[in-house]
């Protein structure tokens, strides 16, 4: 067995919101709390969970766009959790990020060729001729035409813009790419094109992905393993097939059962678990198990004692006092 590419150990991230002059004073947002997992080279780890559960924050901590409040990040054996932004620079080539809204993440006043050239200019000593050659190569890899290089982002459709964002991310031959909702803003037909492109690139360039999405069927399609998050913590982790066929955590079960499936034959075959209420605020997370306020099988113990993420079966961990398997 090879060594993990990324090790995340007990990572926490807190934000302070408001000021001491605002009505509620300074509030501490517990965005991430005790998050640990490893990612093996060549795999895709899917991150799912409701809005605000900390998926993007985790992605931004891993790429060190955010500083960690506590915990350790090891990338290819090197501790990167405390590196300064300058010390991080050589690492940046190896860890890249792709965002949901390709439009917002691309400077509208720059041509496609300059957008893709930027990381090459910053991180490599390539000559302009070499850069031009590389840009042509990258456009081809992501399925764009050579003459697209001179155009501006607004001249492209959403799917094409996401191809530009991907070309930028792979320009420096990274090892790990964090994809934060890369297909969420796209129509299904185009979404499928980008999912296929990402799969091809992974194989061709030996990439490792962390794939954040709220569409569970997309996550299942792309992921080797899946981590399910709730209020800043991982509540269940396992292989994509196991998580979907035999979810063990009550939250995972509710999440999967809530997805409407476009298949009339399959309807009514599984009973939908409708959770009541909303996700509690990460400013005052509930005591004990953070899911107890919405869990259909919560017991007294759940309100006082916090379950930890422990292996429950081979290749599977669950944070619940009463897991189903």
């Amino acid at each position: 067995m090879s060594a993990p590419l990324l090790e995340v150990v007990d990572v926490a991230k807190r934000f302070s919101a408001g000021t001491r002059f605002s009505r509620q004073g300074v509030r501490i947002v517990h965005a991430l709390d005790g998050v640990s997992f490893t990612v093996m080279p060549g795999e895709t780890l899917g991150l799912v969970g409701e809005s605000g559960c900390g998926k993007s924050t985790l992605g931004r901590c891993i790429t060190r766009l955010y500083d960690l409040t506590s915990g350790t990040l090891r990338f290819a054996g090197t501790d990167i959790s405390a590196l300064s932004q300058r010390q991080m620079r050589p690492m940046r080539r190896r860890i890249q990020m792709v965002f949901q809204d390709p439009y917002a993440s691309l400077n509208p006043r720059r041509r496609v060729r300059d957008l893709i050239a930027e990381p090459l200019r910053v991180h490599t000593g390539m000559s302009e001729a070499e850069i031009s050659k590389r840009i042509a190569e990258l456009l081809d890899i992501v399925g764009l035409k050579p003459d697209h290089a001179m155009r501006f982002p607004h001249e492209f459709s959403g799917g094409q813009r996401q191809r530009i964002g991907i070309a930028r991310a792979i320009a420096l031959n990274p090892e790990l790419i964090v994809l934060d909702e890369p297909v969420s803003a796209l129509d299904v037909s185009v979404q499928a094109q980008i999912v296929n492109l990402l799969a091809d690139l992974q194989e061709r360039l030996n990439l490792t992905y962390i794939f954040i999405a709220h569409d569970l069927s997309v996550v299942r399609q792309v992921s080797t393993r899946i981590a399910v998050m709730y209020l800043g913590s991982i509540v269940e982790m396992g292989s994509a097939d196991d998580i979907f066929s035999r979810p063990a955590h009550p939250y995972t079960q509710a999440l999967i059962s809530a997805v409407p499936v476009p298949d009339l034959a399959a309807q009514g075959s599984t009973k939908r678990i409708v959770l009541t209420g909303d996700v509690p605020s990460p400013v005052n997370p509930p005591s004990g198990c953070r899911f107890h306020t919405r869990c259909p099988i919560a017991q007294d113990r759940c309100r006082s004692e916090r379950p930890v993420l422990v292996p429950s079966a081979p290749q599977r961990s669950v944070a619940c006092h009463f897991p189903t398997c």
Binding site: D187, V188, S189, A192, I256, P260, V261, P262
Partner: protein, 316 residues
């Protein structure tokens, strides 16, 4: 109850004429749920905004006929249209904030809506607001009436907007992607709520979405739109079990499955929808269609039948 015939909406823009909706015809029966699906830009929103009389852009040209319970809505006086919107037809949007004012409590906003078409006392209207919030499953309605929109989550706001829409007990509710911005767990709550409302009020609903899963769950009949036109029409069963139009089939095929064997690759539809500024001649789906043949350079028409598709492979 609603009969739309050859509805077209064209916008004059600096780049030229944009035919957003092109000869769209459909019916909605009493108490029925009609689902409208299609990719973004296919004309779903614009066609239903036209039905609601909510296209205010002076550069828009609307032609065709929209009959609601025998009354013609195209060309109706804005005042009469407003009265109808308040009393019989209501609309909810993807972003609930478009229907809410940030500076007033939600109780005030619902009560105001009630007072606009009912001659009752302020106290009675306030009580109605509480009852309506209870009906849409807002916990603690007596306390919730005092809250401001920004103090609520997205799912709660959407429920408040549904409560406002219900305040007039509408015969027709138009819902434009009301769950698209919500988590699946909250979407399930809202879909449950719409089921309950249909049972209790018997309202007809036109539900716009791009999510085939949501359609499979709630629709009675469906329209599939592509590039401003209706390309297929039928019952939910017909569309899912025997889709006629190559686009409908391709759309269903491109969705990754939630159970069973994972395909190695997804069956994506190549290319992108056409630019409406220079719509290709002939079938608009032809550049992306794997079943295209010589005939497709002409324009396929949608037949009159209850289950029909605008495609030469189907009519031939």
């Amino acid at each position: 109850m609603l009969k739309v015939r050859k509805l077209s909406v064209t916008f004059r823009t600096e780049q030229g004429m944009v035919q957003a909706v092109d000869h769209v015809s459909f019916d909605v029966g009493e108490g029925e749920l009609l689902g409208v699906v299609g990719e973004s830009g296919s004309g779903k929103t614009v066609s239903l905004l036209a039905v609601m009389g909510l296209i205010t852009d002076p550069n828009a040209v609307i032609t065709g006929s929209i009959q609601y319970r025998g009354r013609e809505l195209v060309g109706m006086k804005p005042r009469d249209m407003r009265a109808l919107r308040g009393k019989e037809i209501a609309m909810i949007f993807q972003d609930p904030m478009t229907a809410l004012t940030p500076v007033y409590t939600i109780g005030w906003q619902i009560a105001e809506q009630v007072l606009a078409h009912e001659k009752i006392s302020k106290a009675a209207a306030w009580q109605r607001a509480i009852d309506l919030l209870a009906e849409v499953n807002i916990p603690n309605p007596q306390e919730a009436v005092h809250r401001y929109p920004h103090q609520l989550s997205g799912g709660m706001r959407q429920r408040v907007v549904i409560a406002m829409a219900l305040s007039c007990n509408p015969a027709l509710l138009v819902a434009d992607e009301p769950t698209t911005a919500l988590d699946v767990t909250v979407q399930a709550q809202i879909l449950d709520l719409l089921h309950k409302l249909r049972r209790n009020h018997g309202s007809a609903i036109v539900f716009i979405t791009h999510d085939m899963g949501v359609m499979a769950e709630i629709a009675d009949r469906m329209l599939v739109m592509y590039a401003g036109r209706v390309v297929e029409r039928g019952t939910k069963e017909e569309l899912f079990l025997q889709p006629l139009h190559p686009y409908t089939r391709a759309l269903l095929d491109s969705i990754p499955p939630l159970t069973g064997e994972k395909p190695k690759r997804l069956r994506a539809i190549p290319g992108t929808p056409p630019n409406l500024l220079n719509r290709p001649l002939g079938c608009a789906f032809a550049p992306r269609c794997i079943e295209r043949f010589e005939k497709c350079s002409a324009e396929p028409a949608l037949g009159d039948g209850k289950n029909a598709a605008a495609c030469f492979r189907v009519s031939a």
